[in-house]
């Protein structure tokens, strides 16, 4: 009976595996094509017979990208925005998540529901009032105008997700620490912090990606001072709808995508378990 079933199921599983591999190829194809086109010499990109390989890889497109318009500066700007957002939101989220899980206070449930609702607010709808807010504070055309909103918008999700991790730390541990004479601060930073670090990493990925990928704020708030632009805007310098420089666009896209990809692959295990935790919770 068992043997029979194994024989029946084998072709089924092979078919499933073949289709899984095929789908993986299809899903990865756009990224492959992006990197490939970035390395293709100009003549091959503009050929009407595109081939899925190149025999003469060149760095011309990358040279053009880094040569034009202070691309390195945009890269640095993006990096500054993303790291400020990641560090600030991780710290605040950690303290806030601890507060809402470990202490019971009035309005606690209201606060939690507010975090949830805040996640649903379309950031894009708030661009207009934020634009005026930044203008009134003289923050237009500065990196601060990108950093602050991103911190605010990544916090609700970060707190919501971290809550599950803080909850997972047994309260007995906290009591034991106090009995051993640890202060509140000491428990917070030397015991709780390392324990929820995996969760913190997972939430940081989300903050990083939302700040790194941001297009709308960069487009709306950095209007005249291009030295404060970030990568997504720099990318569009190469993309002119009538006559796009595809080699440049693909090279710039590659430069912009690789850091996120590396970051993602490094933390993917924690990310998946973190998501599972957040969903189950």
């Amino acid at each position: 009976m068992n043997l029979l079933r194994a024989r029946v199921r084998r072709p089924g599983r092979l078919a499933a595996e073949a289709s899984a591999l095929l789908i993986a190829v299809v899903v990865a194809f756009p990224l492959y094509w992006m990197v490939l086109s970035a390395f293709k010499p100009a003549g091959e990109i503009e050929s009407s017979e595109p081939r899925p390989w190149t025999l003469a890889p060149s760095l011309d497109s990358f040279r053009r990208v880094f040569g034009q318009q202070e691309f390195g500066r945009y890269f640095l700007n993006s990096l500054v925005v993303a790291s400020c957002v990641v560090i600030a939101s991780a710290l605040i989220a950690f303290l806030a998540a601890t507060a809402v899980t470990r202490f019971r206070f009035r309005l606690r449930t209201t606060l939690l529901i507010m975090f949830l609702v805040a996640q649903m607010v379309p950031v894009e709808a708030l661009t207009i009032p934020l634009f005026f807010l930044m203008r009134d504070f003289g923050q237009l055309n500065t990196l601060g105008s990108l950093i602050l909103p991103h911190i605010a918008f990544s916090l609700p999700f970060a707190i919501w997700m971290l809550r599950g991790f803080v909850k997972g730390v047994p309260e007995a541990l906290e009591e034991a620490a106090y009995i051993d004479g640890a202060s509140r601060a000491r428990f917070l930073w030397q015991i709780l912090f390392p324990l929820v670090l995996p969760g913190l990493v997972a939430t940081s990925v989300f903050s990083f990606i939302s700040a790194w990928n941001d297009f709308l704020f960069a487009k709306s708030f950095i209007i005249s001072d291009t030295s404060q632009s970030t990568l997504p805007m720099a990318l569009l310098v190469f993309y002119k709808p009538d006559d796009p420089d595809w080699g440049g666009v693909m090279a710039a896209s590659t430069v912009m995508t690789i850091p996120v990809l590396v970051f993602f692959v490094l933390v993917q295990r924690r990310l998946v378990s973190g998501l599972g935790g957040a969903v189950k919770d």
Partner: protein, 275 residues
């Protein structure tokens, strides 16, 4: 801070939407006049608004349904294969997930480029332009959106399926249940909380797609044929300096998503979730 950067802008958004607020008021120092519901009246009287609203709802619905279908199907597929193909599919999906919306958009545009793209060559379509027609432009954006958002659904649902004890599935199989029956009567009810989460998240994300539409259809397509609410609000505010009209559209979006959120909260409550 959350209050400053979240609550205050919402308040101001509502406020601006009730006033006359255009370039003259922003830089000319002309007094702002109270309009009451004037902006909304103008908005609701504009046939283009209804057309954009309809397009947004249909487009978001199409995106959500395709994303969920692809994500769930692949999650089930992942449970059927051995480690190596699973790793390949996971990595490919993670790559798509991690790709920034701007680069994803440009890459997909290039893939479907009428002159130099490989897709038209493969399909033998000559120099057919995908962004010219309304439907085909929306379809192209849909493909990109599904490509970059199905991994979230796939990974989450896969994690959910793995959490179902295998004894339950074996028992069902022993009782002679078919694959479809197992999915319907055993897996689907157990996965319901996760399915609710991914559905609501997808609705919220796909309803406010901005970057893909903006980049791929060059700001809303020919004569605004590919506008969705988000891009429409942006264009009204920052391109035509109709800040108050843009804000009114923002308020409409906010209200619609708030309704979705309420449904979400009620579903969570019904599952006996303790906050």
């Amino acid at each position: 801070m959350l209050g400053g950067l979240l609550v205050y802008p919402i308040y101001q958004l509502g406020l601006i939407s009730f006033f006359e607020y255009t370039q003259a008021q922003v830089s000319g120092g002309e007094p702002t006049t109270f309009q009451g519901f004037g902006n909304y009246a103008e908005l609701f009287g504009d046939p283009q608004f209804w057309q954009v609203l309809l397009a947004t709802v249909l487009f978001a619905a199409a995106c959500v349904v395709s994303t969920l279908a692809v994500g769930c199907a692949l999650a089930v597929l992942l449970t059927r294969v051995r480690a190596l193909p699973r790793l390949a599919l996971m990595l490919a999906a993670l790559g798509a997930w991690a790709t920034p919306a701007v680069t994803g958009s440009t890459v997909w545009l290039f893939l479907f480029d009428p002159d130099f793209g490989p897709v038209n060559r493969m399909l033998g379509l000559g120099d057919h332009s995908w962004t010219y027609g309304r439907i085909s432009a929306f379809f192209l954006v849909l493909l990109e959106v599904v490509w970059c958002s199905f991994p979230f659904v796939m990974v989450t649902v896969y994690a959910g399926i793995r959490a179902v004890p295998s004894e339950v599935l074996e028992a069902a199989a022993l009782d002679g249940a078919s694959q479809w029956r197992i999915w319907r009567s055993v897996l689907a009810p157990m996965l319901r909380p996760i399915l609710v989460v991914v559905t609501i998240q997808s609705v919220i994300w796909d309803f406010k797609v901005f970057t893909q539409i903006y980049v791929m259809t060059n700001g809303g397509g020919i004569a605004g044929q590919n506008l969705v609410l988000n891009v429409y609000a942006y264009q009204q505010a920052f391109a035509s300096s109709q800040y108050s009209l843009g804000s009114a559209i923002g308020v409409v979006m906010l209200l619609i998503l708030l309704a979705v959120t309420l449904v979400y909260l009620r579903l969570l409550r019904r599952q006996g979730e303790e906050l």
